[in-house]
């Protein structure tokens, strides 16, 4: 492999951008395909799209080039939680076990205290001050808004939708969510975007306690990650809703 190519690959990984290293076995020729590249003219375009979705590397046969190996690099999934609440306390170890990098944002310092959350990066600030300066949202990020408080939840929800987060969930009853949809519509969110918000949050397992709700939320995030329609999420990031 060319050293310059290796450096580029490592740069893409460090920046949490998906890419595929394409190696022709017969010739040893290699190139890097970025997720944001327009590959529509490439005979392997469909293969690339499918592999960005699945994250799986593998060998394919290309008529022109013979055997071609696609080494897929997609960032590890991340979970951004709005609200340092009881559910978030239960969610912290669950997310870690499931392999998610989790961070919590909550401006209420009484909630967002290191004593309550010793094991997870905590931002005791307004989401507006953290996103995207300290926490950038992308299509490999799940966002769960758990405060119930529009002042805290609304901004990150809008940013999560416009950033193409693969999962966007919000705590609250159907009634709460109906008024949320009204507010976010006024703020410029489209109907299609709002339909992506999972609310009431979590898979329906009759969760009652905060810990059970955390399990339901994690299950729903995994479901979206593995079975969801990430393919329909446009890349690169849309900037329409600033």
């Amino acid at each position: 492999m060319d050293l310059a190519l290796l450096k580029q690959l490592n740069r893409e990984r460090a920046a949490r951008r998906g890419c595929i290293l394409v190696s022709e076995i017969a010739t040893g020729a290699q190139r890097l395909v970025l997720e944001t590249d327009d590959t529509s003219a490439d005979p392997l375009a469909e293969e690339f799209a499918a592999r960005f979705r699945s994250g799986k590397s593998g060998m394919v046969s290309d008529e022109a080039d013979g055997q071609v190996f696609l080494n897929v690099s997609v960032p590890p999934p991340r979970l951004v939680v709005i609200g340092a609440v009881h559910i978030s306390q239960a969610l912290t170890p669950i997310a870690a076990i499931a392999g998610f990098d989790m961070e919590i944002i909550d401006p209420r310092t009484a909630f967002a205290s290191p004593e309550r959350f010793p094991d997870v990066p905590l931002h005791a600030e307004w989401p507006e001050d953290v996103i995207p300066r300290k926490v950038s949202l992308d299509r490999y990020t799940a966002l769960a808004a758990l405060t119930h408080d529009p002042k805290i939840d609304d901004y990150p929800l809008i940013k999560a939708l416009s950033s193409g987060c693969f999962y966007v969930g919000a705590l609250g009853s159907r009634k709460t969510h109906a008024s949320r949809v009204e507010r976010l519509t006024k703020a410029g969110a489209s109907e299609a975007d709002l339909a992506r918000i999972k609310a009431p949050i979590g898979v329906n397992i009759g969760a009652a306690s905060p810990a059970e709700i955390a399990v339901a939320v994690m299950a729903q995030i995994i479901e979206e990650l593995r079975k969801g329609a990430r393919a329909s999420v446009p890349a690169p990031v849309r900037e329409a809703m600033a």
């Binding site: 492999m1 060319d2 050293l3 290796l6 450096k7 690959l9 490592n10 990984r13 190696s23 076995i25 040893g28 799986k56 590397s57 593998g58 060998m59 190996f69 080494n71 897929v72 690099s73 960032p75 590890p76 999934p77 870690a96 392999g99 990098d101």
Partner: protein, 123 residues
């Protein structure tokens, strides 16, 4: 996230929270920057119960030092030997390992799987 619980439980706890190819490629770049000869081995195909998923890497330097893994430790020794050849002549090569009766106790995969490993020089 890795699909290889087999490997994780046996080896590096720390790898559970980091994508397991990330480090190896960073190591490869770091070694090159330090002026070392570097070969990169990649699992390209697996059949049966291979211990490491397709796309896993092993990085090898000219002294035979290595990081990462392409199996659960079964064939790394053989891959390192081949990598030293690749570093010398610069030509990539494809290796295949499986459980053949006569080699099962040498460099076979004890789990019964079969893997193809591509070895190339980073230059």
């Amino acid at each position: 996230m890795t699909s290889s619980t087999h490997y994780q439980s046996a080896n590096h706890q720390a790898l559970e929270t980091v994508p397991d190819t990330l480090d190896v490629l960073a190591v490869a770049e770091g070694w090159r920057a330090a002026g070392r000869d570097v070969a990169l081995a990649t699992v390209m195909e697996t059949w049966g119960s291979a211990p490491r998923p397709v796309g896993s890497h092993l990085v090898i330097d000219g002294e035979g030092n290595f990081e990462g893994s392409v199996s659960g430790g079964c064939v790394e020794g053989a891959v390192v030997g081949e990598a030293l050849d690749v570093l010398e002549n610069g030509k990539p090569r494809m290796l295949e390992f499986g459980v053949a009766d006569e080699t099962a106790w040498k460099v076979g995969l004890s789990c019964g799987g079969r893997i193809r490993v591509y070895v190339e020089k980073v230059d």
